[in-house]
Structure formats: structure tokens, C-alpha cells
């Protein structure tokens, strides 16, 4: 069964989730991955959106973080201050999904500006929940399309902490959560090196070459000693994912939220 690189990325991210996870979900790919996990191998995963919907089971993917669907299918819906104070800062979330316009080799993210903060070339949306998600979830899964302008040597702005500019910042700041333990792209899967915390290629998606990975990374990307080939999406994974997207498109009356 043929599949897109976007589908490969979503499936690879979904597989990293388990039944015991309590997941802080962002819109777009993270939402697709989390709900794919819930509809396949991890039916007991708990999904939380920052709009306050606890343990929600949307039938279609939300366009926004606060669609009615999320509240309708949630165990309960709490105020937004409570979500950030009791649930995120309270240390009850095992996995947070993040992405951004730029990521560096230590998994730090920029979702604030391209260029100078005071005279930006491109003003991006900003932190939203990301800054505290990055430090308060048990671990962070990063999901981003890979490219030389987004996988950068140096961030224009550090919105959300990964392992810090030295790879050792979390320890220095007394942060006890793990930070980025996984970076899933449309080309490969990276994990932090046990020594340096540099995000290192562990698995390459079928049909992708090391050269492609290098060409799409602005830093000199490192490969683990034993690099696997990512198992391709199974027929059933693809079927569930495509059904989810088809239902979503019908519900929203437009082709949105792809993959």
C-alpha cells in the first residue's frame, strides 16, 4: 500500500505512544498521531487539549484546540488556568507533543520569530502552551517536517527548551523531566545521544537516503551506530488514519488538518 511521507511521520509518532500515556495534544499532526494511537494500539491513552478537555475521544480531528467535539467527548472540561496549574504544572502529563518553525540539534524550538525579535522577518504565532509543556511533561516528542531552514544550526529565538544550547541546560536549571526523547520527521526518527543529548538519527524511513537526511539538516547530523529502517505504515494503520481524515474533512466541510 503506498503512503505519503506525511502519513509515515504520523504513524511513526503514533507508535511511540502507549496505553499508559497521558498526552498533552497540540493541533495538526500531534492531534492526528495521538488519535491514531488511540484508535489502534493504545485505546486507553488519555488525551488532554489545552482548552481544558480531559480524557477526550474526538470522533473527528479538531480544527482548533477548543472545538466543541473535544468537550462533547471528554470525561470532563476544566477551566484553562486549572489545566495549566493542576494538570500540566502538577506533573500529571507523561508526554507532550511539540513542533515549531525551527529546531536545533538539542531539540530546542523556535515558534516566536524568524529574524530579530524587535524587527522580525516573519512573526510566528508564539509560545502558546509550548514553553511550559516543554519543561513540565514527563517527556517531549517533537514532530516536524525536515528541511535546512527549519533544522537549523542556531535558533533565531529559543521559545521552548529542549536540552538547551549546550545540551545540558535542563540539569543546570534543576528540571527533572526528560525533555525531547524523540524527534519524528518525514524522513527519519532521531533520539538524543546518551552522552551529549544531541538529536541523533536512529531510524530512517523506507526509501529515504542518508544524503537526503543530511541535505535537509543545517547542522552536521549524526547517525547512531546501528540505524534501523522505520517499518512502513501497515495497511490497518493507514486505513484508520485515512478514515479519520475523511471523517474530519466531511465534518469541517473542507480539506483541512491534513495528516
Amino acid at each position: 500500500m503506498s503512503y505519503s511521507s506525511q502519513e509515515m511521520m504520523t504513524v511513526a509518532a503514533a507508535r511511540a505512544l502507549s496505553n499508559s500515556d497521558v498526552c498533552f495534544v497540540g493541533i495538526g499532526m500531534p492531534s492526528a498521531a495521538c488519535n491514531l494511537a488511540r484508535l489502534t494500539h493504545a485505546p486507553r491513552i488519555k488525551l488532554i487539549y489545552e482548552s481544558g478537555t480531559l480524557q477526550t475521544r474526538p470522533d473527528v480531528l479538531p480544527l482548533s484546540i477548543g472545538d466543541g467535539e473535544l468537550s462533547d467527548t471528554a470525561l470532563t472540561t476544566v477551566p484553562v488556568p486549572e489545566v495549566f496549574r493542576y494538570w500540566l504544572q502538577g506533573g500529571r502529563i507523561t508526554v507532550g507533543f511539540l513542533g515549531g518553525a525551527q529546531v536545533d540539534r538539542f531539540g530546542n524550538l523556535n515558534s516566536t520569530v524568524i529574524g530579530n525579535y524587535d524587527r522580525p522577518k516573519v512573526r510566528l504565532p508564539g509560545s502558546g502552551g509550548a514553553t511550559e509543556i516543554a519543561t513540565q511533561c514527563g517527556q517531549i516528542f517533537l514532530v516536524m517536517k525536515q528541511g535546512p531552514r527549519s533544522f537549523v544550526r542556531e535558533l533565531d529565538f529559543l521559545t521552548s527548551l529542549g536540552h538547551g544550547r549546550t545540551g545540558r541546560e535542563r540539569q543546570r536549571l534543576g528540571i527533572r523531566t526528560k525533555g525531547p526523547t524523540l524527534l519524528v520527521t518525514d524522513l527519519c526518527i532521531m533520539r538524543p545521544d546518551a552522552e551529549t543529548n544531541e538529536m541523533t538519527v536512529n531510524s530512517i524511513h523506507p526509501g529515504v537516503t542518508r544524503e537526503q537526511v543530511r541535505a535537509n539538516t543545517a547542522w552536521e547530523v549524526r547517525f547512531a551506530e546501528a540505524v534501523q529502517e522505520t517499518p512502513p505504515p501497515t495497511a490497518s494503520e493507514l486505513e484508520v488514519l485515512r478514515d479519520l481524515h475523511a471523517r474530519t474533512a466531511r465534518a469541517h466541510g473542507a480539506a483541512v488538518g491534513e495528516s
Binding site: 493541533i27 495538526g28 489545552e50 482548552s51 481544558g52 478537555t53 479538531p62 480544527l63 482548533s64 484546540i65 477548543g66 472545538d67 466543541g68 473535544l70 468537550s71 472540561t77 476544566v78 477551566p79 484553562v80 488556568p81 489545566v83 495549566f84 496549574r85 500540566l88 504544572q89 530546542n108 516566536t112 525579535y117 524587535d118 522580525p120 522577518k121 516573519v122 512573526r123 510566528l124 504565532p125 508564539g126 509560545s127 502558546g128 502552551g129 509550548a130 514553553t131 511550559e132 516543554a134 519543561t135 513540565q136 529565538f157 529559543l158 521559545t159 521552548s160 527548551l161 538547551g164 535542563r170 536549571l173 534543576g174 528540571i175 469541517h252 466541510g253 473542507a254 483541512v256 488538518g257
Partner: protein, 272 residues
């Protein structure tokens, strides 16, 4: 609490130069109030909102704001807020000063405002560059553990508008579904106006813990059915996702935007 129409509420409670929070976390965004503020030509506002969304994209594009306090400025699930970007990147139609936070910070700052405190503390901004661009982010040490905690000023808007499902004849207001920071915003503000879908005699049988703002905690109730469109009102109408997508095209171009606002927002005045 007084029962007013939207023209009266805006005329009475919103002044040039005010800090204004029009809250609603994706759900129950008070568009009707925003549009009336535009029609009445207020200016020099400080706009406060966690997610500026289309509502502030419209207000910023129309030049009513000199300052924005926010934490996430995108079109949810769609992309950029082009008017917000144009103001920040190119000072069009005028420069926009920004005070930028994270969601956790804004939510805690509203909570502190509702609680009558001058500041909020939380564990935040660790390792982020945001404190280097926002002088309102400070850090204090816990006197018991020595832990460094983020501290920011409470949000205390001059006026807050929120939208809710129902008001009863006493002017109590019921909110249900995604309640966001609306209750906190209303309680944190010096003056609070609630637009509602519906007026009822009595809320009837309900859970003991229903989210209700008593009449004596707000300044005005305004009947405004559909007042949250194109966002949604749980139990009344769904989010107009197609419009959120269409907005990307409308707002991308300055002239298209102005024409759309002229035709769809400003001309409403004539009709009434």
C-alpha cells in the same frame, strides 16, 4: 448589573486608551462586542487575549490597538493572522507594541487578577528567551525552598467582554462547555460585560456546581444571539471552520481586508 444593548454597553464601558480583554478560549469568542467597538471607533486600546484569533486580527487591522498582550497569535489549524503579522512586521496600519507571554503565564495572570492579587507566581519560562524580551517577566525565590519561580503582573483589564449561553432574569450568567479563562477575565476586570445567546426566566434544575457568574459580579448583560459567530456556542451553533479557513485569504491582502470589514462589520451600523 444592568441589561443593556450592545451599543449602550460599548458606549458606556469602553473608552479610548482602555485595556480591553475580549476573552473566550476558541469557544464563545465575543465577536459581536468587538464589532461594536469597531463601529464606535474606539482607539489606542491595549488588547489582552491569550489567543488573538480572528477577533483581534480584525481589530488590529482596523487600527484600534496600540498594544497587544497575548500568548499565541495564529489562526487555529489554518496558519497566520495576517493583520497581526502586518502590524508587527510592517507597522501597518500603525505600530503595535507587543507584550508576549506563554499560555500558562496568561492563565495564571488572569487567575491572580480574579483573586485580587497584584501578581501571579508559577513554575515557568525555564530556559526560554521570552523573559529577555518581556520585562514584565520576573523571577522570585520561594522563601521555603529557594526555588526560582516566574512572577508576572496580574491581568486587571479596564473592561472585559465575554460571551455566554444564558442569563436569567436577575442577570446571573451561565457558561458551559469549554469555559476557558472567561470567568477569570470577567472577575479580573474593573468592568465586565457579558453578551449572551439567550435570556431565560430561570436556569431550572442543574448541577450544584454549574459555572455561573452572579449578577452582582458583572456590570452588564447584553442579549446578542449569534454573538460568538464565527466561533461557536456549545448547545447553540457550531464553529464556522470554513470561515476560519476563508479568513486566511480575506486577511492576507490589506485592501481585501478593509473592503470585507467595511461591508460586513462597519455597515452593520446603518442597518440598526
Amino acid at each position: 448589573m444592568e441589561l443593556l444593548n450592545i451599543q449602550e454597553a460599548v458606549a458606556r464601558f469602553v473608552h479610548d486608551g482602555d485595556s480591553v480583554a475580549l476573552e473566550g478560549f476558541t469557544h464563545l469568542i465575543p465577536f459581536a462586542a468587538a464589532h461594536e467597538i469597531l463601529r464606535q471607533g474606539r482607539k489606542d486600546l491595549t488588547l489582552i487575549r491569550m489567543t488573538p484569533d480572528l477577533i483581534y486580527d480584525q481589530m488590529i487591522g482596523m487600527g484600534v490597538a496600540r498594544r497587544l498582550i497575548f500568548s499565541w497569535g495564529g489562526n487555529p489549524g489554518v496558519g497566520s493572522l495576517h493583520r497581526l503579522r502586518d502590524a508587527v512586521e510592517k507597522s501597518w496600519p500603525q505600530p503595535l507594541e507587543i507584550v508576549e507571554h506563554s499560555h500558562a503565564a496568561m492563565a495564571s495572570a488572569y487567575e491572580a487578577g480574579a483573586a485580587g492579587l497584584p501578581c501571579a507566581i508559577f513554575r515557568g519560562y525555564q530556559g526560554s528567551d521570552l523573559p529577555s524580551v518581556n520585562p514584565q517577566i520576573k523571577f522570585i525565590a520561594c522563601p521555603f525552598t529557594g526555588e526560582k519561580l516566574a512572577c508576572i503582573p496580574a491581568l486587571r483589564p479596564d473592561v472585559a467582554f465575554i460571551h455566554a449561553q444564558k442569563a436569567d432574569r436577575e442577570g446571573n450568567v451561565l457558561i458551559e462547555g469549554i469555559v476557558g479563562v472567561q470567568k477569570e477575565a470577567a472577575l479580573a476586570a474593573q468592568r465586565a460585560v457579558v453578551t449572551v445567546e439567550e435570556m431565560v426566566d430561570d436556569f431550572g434544575p442543574r448541577s450544584s456546581n454549574t459555572v455561573i457568574l452572579p449578577s452582582w459580579s458583572i456590570d452588564a448583560v447584553v442579549l446578542a444571539p449569534g454573538g460568538a459567530r464565527p466561533s461557536y456556542a456549545h448547545g447553540y451553533y457550531a464553529r464556522d471552520n470554513a470561515f476560519y479557513i476563508a479568513w486566511d485569504e480575506i486577511a492576507r491582502d490589506r485592501d481585501t481586508f478593509k473592503t470585507w470589514m467595511e461591508e460586513n462589520v462597519l455597515r452593520e451600523k446603518v442597518r440598526q
